[in-house]
Each structure stands twice: as structure tokens, then as C-alpha cells.
């Protein structure tokens, strides 16, 4: 069994937000890091996932990224 990570290239961030229907929020600086609350930009996007139906994001700071990845048991 492998742990699969879906990946996007940092040059294609806008594409994934458009495909997830988050384009407007992204352009209006309404996407926030679920850990530190900072605004997600093209240069600060780290990862995203779906939790309880809701899409949540984190920025690329080491602290936020590592907290974001911890599985909830």
C-alpha cells in the first residue's frame, strides 16, 4: 500500500483553484491558511484537502504545512 499524494506544479496553482471553483475567492484574497489565517497567494500556497466536505488550505510555512498533514484519528 502506498500513500498517494496528488500534486500540482507551482505554476498551475490558478488552474487547480479554477477547477475547484475557488477562483473568485483566490483572486479576491479570501482563501486563508487554516492554521495561521494568512492569505493564500500564488507564492504562499502549500497544500489543500477536503475535510467534512469542506475544502481547507494551508500556506507553505513549515509549521502550517506539517500541522496540516497530521492525520486526524
Amino acid at each position: 500500500m502506498k500513500e498517494v499524494f496528488k500534486a500540482i506544479h507551482c505554476n498551475e496553482i490558478e488552474t487547480i483553484f479554477t477547477r475547484l471553483g475557488l477562483s473568485d475567492k483566490f483572486l479576491n484574497h479570501q482563501l486563508l491558511c487554516s492554521n495561521c489565517g494568512s492569505v493564500i497567494t500564488k507564492n504562499t500556497f502549500g497544500a489543500l484537502t477536503r475535510k467534512s466536505g469542506k475544502i481547507i488550505l494551508c500556506c507553505n510555512s513549515a509549521d502550517c504545512y506539517t500541522n496540516f498533514l497530521v492525520p486526524t484519528s
Binding site: 500513500e3 499524494f5 513549515a62
Partner: protein
Amino acid sequence: MNIIITLFKDYGLSIGLVALVVFTIYYFSRILLDEDRSALWRARFYKMAFSVLHKQEHEKKYIANDINGKINLARRDLHFGEEILPKAVKVEWIEGKNGETYDLKEGEFVVCLNPANCQEMNIVKLASAVVKRTTLIGARHILEKPLIGAIDLNLTRNLLDKINNRKSLDWFFAQEYQPVIKNDPKLSEWNGKIATIEEKGLFTRILLIELTDFAKKIAGLLPRAFMGGEVESLIDFLYKIATKPSRQPVPLDFERAYIRTGIMLVADTDKMLLKGIVPYIKGMSCKLEKMLNTVYLIVFDKAALGERDPKLEEEFNSIVKNLDETILGHSLIKKDFEVSYKCIDSKGKKRKAKCIRYSIEYN
């Protein structure tokens, strides 16, 4: 390869060529049959293609194959126990065009990866991710955050060390390890202990294995305060052994509700040579009486003795072998693994050692 050169010299061109062909077939079939090694070759190919053609599809294939190959090969060297920790990783790019919607499944993670010229950052990102998401599942919620953070940091460091990419390791130390240690005194304290345990070679070979077994035992149980305390005590127990001055006794048995393990250290050459295996067999019997579930036999290499007196070194090694066979002669005991490794001894010198894990199943 030396054998082939010898064959060329001794038997001439034809035999040498046959040997070369056989070696080449063996070498390439080994790569082809090994998913991770072949991923590394694919990565090299796409890296070259990208440097010539500058196409993003080549860059993406390089990034994904390089991460998959490097992390998965490195984790195999961290074997021990029944399963390899952390799990194997697979990076898959999200493909598709702008107009198509993407259905993000519950729990699915999408990570943002950097361009190929920042591959060391991508490797660290994924190494850290796979450690956090696949190790000690079931025990994470009962351990305090600084402790689990210190375990993750040390396992990620181990994984990156095995990858043997200095740039990745430097980036990890500068961007992840040091900032976390600096900002969290509690984590720093746990990290100090775990790093010392790791220096003695007891982190991946004992601590992590016992914690994985512990996580399996408590899976599904209501979290209790003593569970976390048990893990903390185990770390203190191993830390005392790791920092033990030569010939000074420290507790070598750990008896708690879920973790019941013991250590047998074969460090004293004279004791082994003069008294043989009897004291160690007696020690093993005591551990059986205490109903310990696992016992680790740690034997330090006697290279210095070998230089002085090779015969004595041989005798020492044969006594150790006899000890292992005698222990395995007991009907309740089975050997889980035997690994050789390098560690740093109490005098700060690099030393070879051997760790054997026995598990005991009581009727």
C-alpha cells in the same frame, strides 16, 4: 565488476565478454524488476529530456519519479520490525484542463510542488508528509504534540539521511528542524533525548518499533493519561541506556501495561570471554519470568580487540553466536530481526554494533 576484469585477464576476451553480458543483463533486470530503482532511472531520463526540450511534462515526470524513487529506496534502509516505516510514497500529478472541474475526494491531499531546480525542497516536503501521515497511526492522539513532533523530526531526518542528498538535508535543517526546535522548548527537550537515543542506534531499531506495536495495541481504545505516560517513560528508559557511562548499571527492563520490553547489552568483552553465555542466559530467564514481550540483544563490535588479538575476537564472536542459538532454542522465543549498524559510543567514537530482536509468546 572486479570479477569480470579478472575473467578478462585470466580467460581471455570471449569468456570476459560472456561474463560482461551476463552482468549487464543481471544489472538491468534488477533495475527493471525494482519499481523504485527504475523510477530513479526514469527520473534521470526525464531530467535530461527537460534540460534539452524544456517541456513541463518532462519536468513533472522528473519531479515525481525522483521523489518516488529516492524516498521509497531510502525507507527500505529504515527497515525493522514487521513493516517498513514510513509507508511508500506515490506522487501523482493532477492532470486536466482549465475548463474541467476537479472532484477532490474526502481526505485527499493536494500538495504544491516547486520547479525542478528546487527539487531538494520537494523531497523534504514529501518526506515530511509521508512520515507524518503514515507512522504511529493510532498513537498520535494520545501523545503530546512536542513529543510526536520530535519523533517526526528525527524520522524525517533519518529518511533524508538515507536519501543522501546534502541539499535536501541542509534545507530541512535550516527551514524545518532548527526553526521548530528554536520555537518550542518542550519539543527541543524531547528532541534532545530522541537524538541521543538515535546516536546510539536505538531510535529506529527499538523505540520506533516498540511505539508501532504500542499503537497497534491501543488502537480503538479510549485514550487514557497513562498511555502517553508509558511512551514518555519508554523514551526516558532508552535515554538512560543511551547515556549510561561504561560499567555503570541502569535499569534494562521496561514493564508497563502495554510495553514490556528488555535490553541485554553485550559491551563488556571480559565478562563474555571469562564467563561465557551463562550470565546472559540467566538474564534472559529473568526477562521471561517478568513476562516481557520483547528482548533486544545489543552487541558492540570488538574491532579494537581484533586488532590486538584476532583469535580473541573470533572467540568472542563465536560466543555471541552460541548465545543467539541458545536463546532461540527456547520454545517460546523467536527472532524478529538481526541488523548491523554504526553508532556513537560513550567516548564519542563511531562503532559498529548489532541489534537482535526476540519476541516471546507465552502460552
